[in-house]
């Protein structure tokens, strides 16, 4: 948690192997992922991590189910299996009737639920979320967070989430406060 410009997103991006680190180490399963090559980081992200951002950033040309199945297809999973998994996760987030819709045809809250399904479909060990409810109203934020936490708990996935909203931070088991690039507290 922290105010804008405090460095919380940079920290999350470093932890998620999105950007390389200038100094220090990021250890995951005993390996320093901060020094991985770009290709190796890409493969790590798509096989082991999941992501949910403020704006769901779905691929507009693909249908909802295509978007969810995409990470599995990128991993070389068989098409039928990938779509069966995607279907399962769309059911889990309550979007059974939206499979064939495109992102432009569903609401912001529904898009975030699709993003959660897409993040979870690879059964990530860690799910990184950057202001996942930043673009939603409070009612939708609450629904999305409940789904988010329940899904992660049910699947044993660790969630690392960035927010500046205390009400959203309250869903977490552990809270780290960042300011001006420094960790200034934890609870």
């Amino acid at each position: 948690m922290g105010p804008s410009g405090s460095g919380k997103s940079t920290l999350l991006h470093s932890l998620a192997a999105i950007i390389p680190v200038d100094s220090g180490e990021i250890l995951f399963d005993g390996r320093n992922i901060g020094k991985f090559s770009d290709n190796k980081r890409s493969i790590l992200r798509r096989t082991t991590f999941g992501f949910v951002f403020q704006f769901s950033q779905l691929v507009p040309e693909l249908t909802v189910i295509d978007n969810v199945a995409l990470p599995l297809l990128l991993n070389g999973v068989n098409r039928n299996k990938a779509y069966a998994e995607a279907k399962k996760w769309l059911e889990a987030v309550g979007l059974t009737d939206k499979h064939e819709n495109t992102p432009g045809e569903i609401s912001g809250g529904q898009m975030q639920r699709v993003a959660i399904a897409r993040a979870m479909v690879v059964q990530p060990k860690i799910l990184f979320a950057d202001e996942p409810t930043g673009s939603l109203d409070s009612l939708n934020s609450e629904h999305v967070m409940e789904l988010f936490i329940k899904t992660a708990k049910d699947n044993g996935t660790t969630v690392i989430m960035v927010t500046h909203e205390p009400s959203i931070a309250a869903y977490a088991d552990r809270e780290i406060v960042v300011r001006d690039g420094q960790i200034i507290g934890a609870k």
Partner: protein
């Protein structure tokens, strides 16, 4: 601007070429159009058609013979009517006469050259033309027109505009179409780069109207620069254009110069094209103080009604490919206009049907591929193609027109070339050896062979008795003058009868008895084929006023008689295909770059989610190239097929074949497109750098 000016210059030059020759139109139509006028003595006129003295080497010399009936006879503008023995020559013929004085060509037309035919009456600087004065005896014999008044050139020009003009305008539209598309796509990309500035202007208080005005002024400035550059480029290419040949001859440079009124029209057309293309590109863009938004609505899925034009055309050609259709076509081709009409309507239906049906075909083929693919990359690419089918097809639609029209024409022409080769093979004169000639005609002096033998450039002559069945030649001379031979065992004095006016005799038969002959022809062996025109001139001078004698060259009989416009249009088809493909590739590059910038966020997400840069590159390659490659193959395939049906309908012996140049242009252009996109896609790596997109 350059394209429009070049096009206008071309049309201008073609019209002017017709206009220069329009006075000859009065000679052909004198019987219907020329009525006696009181107080006007007719001008007697004819265009030579008999004999072949109106030839130099293998080119025709347009020879007009005139005789004024009196002082009141009409005159050609700026050219006093030549008297008997006098003649004018065109600039092209004057050059030939200067370069080949040994041929003494002028003496075929008279004894005194009195000037050069002015530009206004001559079709080209290369045209071989003569206007000569004829004797009273000649003016009163044969088919001679009486001219009382030369009409204006309007009628001839309008006749011309009605046929070739339509073809040219049609061809130019095919070339301009992809260019307009290119401008539209380039405008979109240009505006994408300027959008942040427009948004900043809105933020500091500029109204929507003011921003629109700034956009218009910026576009206008670019167009003005384009007009200036295009005009200068036109001036630079003018000397090159004056070397361009159409129908085997060049245009007068003055005819290629665009008139001021046409120049103004070109400027207006360019401005309109650019402004419309600009408006088209920007019509979905909303500039607000917070940024620029495109109404990114996914284009509507194209419906099957788009096949309404293509389907009847395809059905027509499928039927014409079947034996029943082909038979009907051949049975009716010579009797009525219906077969040609059906073919033309069918071709138009397929060509424009392809344009209309393109988005539907693109959408459905890509949807089908997306439904069955196992690859994430293909899924992403084909889904994008399916969703944006109208837009994607628009960027390659110019290629459809050019490749279809080009493939159709070149296939058809290749069939005609085969027919021409067959015609040579079936021409009896092509059996003559190189540097030989046959001199024939009822008006030849008696014992003409002796006079021929005296000519220093003639190595041998043999007189050959002839009747309506052919020429009588003994076996000894047969091998000397022709590439034929008597059967084994025949004696040198044995005789054969050969009809040069009919297809080549496959088997030579020795005659058992000598038939009666009614005239004499002369087989002549020249030192070189370059001496042919000396022979023509000698024969012409030996028969007085008459033109009823023929000198047929064995060398030229082996060359197909092809209207030079056919291979020149084929060259234009190659150029058209090359230019259109070049523009299409440029459009493809611009639209690919535009698409990458537009979808940067989407790509960033994919990269954050673990998609490698290599996978993204492959996606972009597939989605950019598949429409171009598939559309090109479909257009080429349909063009070749319809060209084949067309030419097969005309003749059962035609065998359409495509040249290596055709394949080189199509395959080479597609290879260039692949390389071009391959060079563009590395920008994906840069624009999706996670470090540079943390704020997204």
């Amino acid at each position: 601007m350059l394209m429009i000016l070049v096009f206008m210059a071309g049309v201008n030059a073609l019209q002017a070429q017709t206009q220069h020759a329009s006075w000859r139109y009065d000679l052909f139509t004198a019987d219907e159009n020329q009525k006696p006028i009181d107080g006007v003595a007719p001008l007697k006129a004819k265009i030579a058609t008999d004999g072949n003295f109106n030839k130099w080497q293998n080119e025709s010399i347009t020879t007009v013979s005139l005789r004024a009936g009196g002082v009141t006879s009409p005159q050609l503008s700026g050219l006093p009517t030549p008297k008997d023995g006098e003649y004018y020559v065109s600039r092209g013929l004057a050059k030939v006469m200067q370069d080949h004085p040994e041929d003494n060509i002028g003496s075929r037309f008279g004894s005194k050259q009195i000037g050069i035919i002015p530009e206004a009456l001559s079709t080209s600087p290369d045209a071989l033309e003569v206007i000569r004065g004829m004797s009273e005896q000649e003016a009163n014999s044969g088919r001679v027109a009486s001219i009382y008044k030369f009409s204006s050139s309007t009628e001839a020009v309008s006749r011309y505009s009605g046929s070739v003009g339509v073809i040219l305008i049609f061809g130019a539209s095919i070339l301009l179409f992809p260019i307009v598309m290119f401008i539209s796509i380039a405008t979109q990309l240009g505006s994408a780069q300027r959008e942040k500035r427009y948004a900043a202007l809105r933020l500091i208080g500029a109204t929507r109207k003011q921003v629109s005005r700034i956009i218009a002024v910026e576009s206008l400035s670019a167009v003005v620069v384009g007009i200036v550059v295009g005009s200068l480029a036109y001036i630079a290419v003018l000397p090159l254009m004056s070397q361009f040949e159409f129908g085997g001859v060049r245009f007068w440079q003055s005819d290629l110069t665009v008139q001021s009124s046409h120049y103004v029209l070109a400027v207006i057309v360019t401005l309109l094209f650019c402004l419309i293309a600009n408006w088209w590109g920007m019509r979905h863009v909303q500039v607000s103080p917070l940024g620029v938004a495109r109404s990114g609505k996914v284009s509507k899925r194209p419906r099957a009604w788009r096949l309404i034009l293509l389907a009847p055309g395809l059905v027509t050609f499928i039927w014409l490919s079947l034996p029943s259709g082909t038979d009907w076509l051949r049975d009716n081709a010579s009797d009525n206009a219906a077969p040609l009409l059906i073919l033309m309507v069918g071709i138009m239906s397929v060509m424009f049907g392809l344009l209309l049906a393109g988005p539907w075909l693109t959408s459905n083929i890509s949807r089908l591929a997306a439904r069955h693919t196992k690859s994430a990359i293909t899924l992403l690419a084909t889904k994008r193609i399916a969703m944006q089918s109208s837009r994607i097809f628009r960027s390659v639609s110019g290629v459809v027109l050019a490749l279809f029209a080009g493939s159709f024409y070149l296939t058809g022409v290749s069939g005609i070339a085969k027919l021409n080769t067959d015609a040579v093979a079936n021409n009896g004169y092509s059996g003559l050896r190189d540097a030989t000639a046959i001199v024939s005609g009822d008006v030849l002096p008696t014992a003409f062979d002796a006079k021929l033998r005296q000519q220093p450039y003639i190595s041998s002559v043999v007189a050959s008795g002839a009747n309506d069945k052919g020429n009588l030649i003994d076996c000894q001379n047969l091998t000397l003058y022709t590439r034929l031979a008597c059967p084994d065992g025949s004696k040198p004095s044995d005789e054969v009868l050969l009809n040069f006016d009919s297809p080549t005799v496959k088997g030579v038969e020795v005659l058992k008895s000598t038939p009666t002959t009614t005239s004499t022809s002369y087989l002549v062996k020249l030192d070189s084929n370059n001496d042919l025109d000396k022979l023509r001139t000698f024969v012409a001078s030996s028969i007085g006023d008459s033109t009823a004698a023929w000198v047929v060259s064995g060398t030229y009989a082996q060359i197909p008689i092809v209207n030079p416009i056919i291979p020149e249009l084929a060259n234009l088809a190659y150029v058209g295909m090359g230019v259109t493909l070049f523009v299409a590739i440029a459009s493809l590059i611009v639209s690919t770059i535009g698409g990458l910038l537009e979808r940067r966020r989407s790509f960033v997400t994919l990269r954050l989610g673990g998609m490698t840069v290599g996978q993204m590159k492959r996606t972009v390659m597939i989605e950019s190239l598949i429409p171009l490659v598939s559309v090109s193959l479909v257009a080429c395939g349909l063009g070749v097929w319809i060209g084949w049906v067309f030419i097969s309908a005309m003749s059962d012996s035609a065998e359409p074949t495509l040249t290596p140049l055709y394949f080189a242009i199509v395959i080479g252009s597609l290879a260039v497109a692949i390389v071009a996109i391959w060079l563009v896609v590395p920008m994906l790596e840069k624009i999706t750098q996670p470090e540079q997109n943390q704020t997204e």
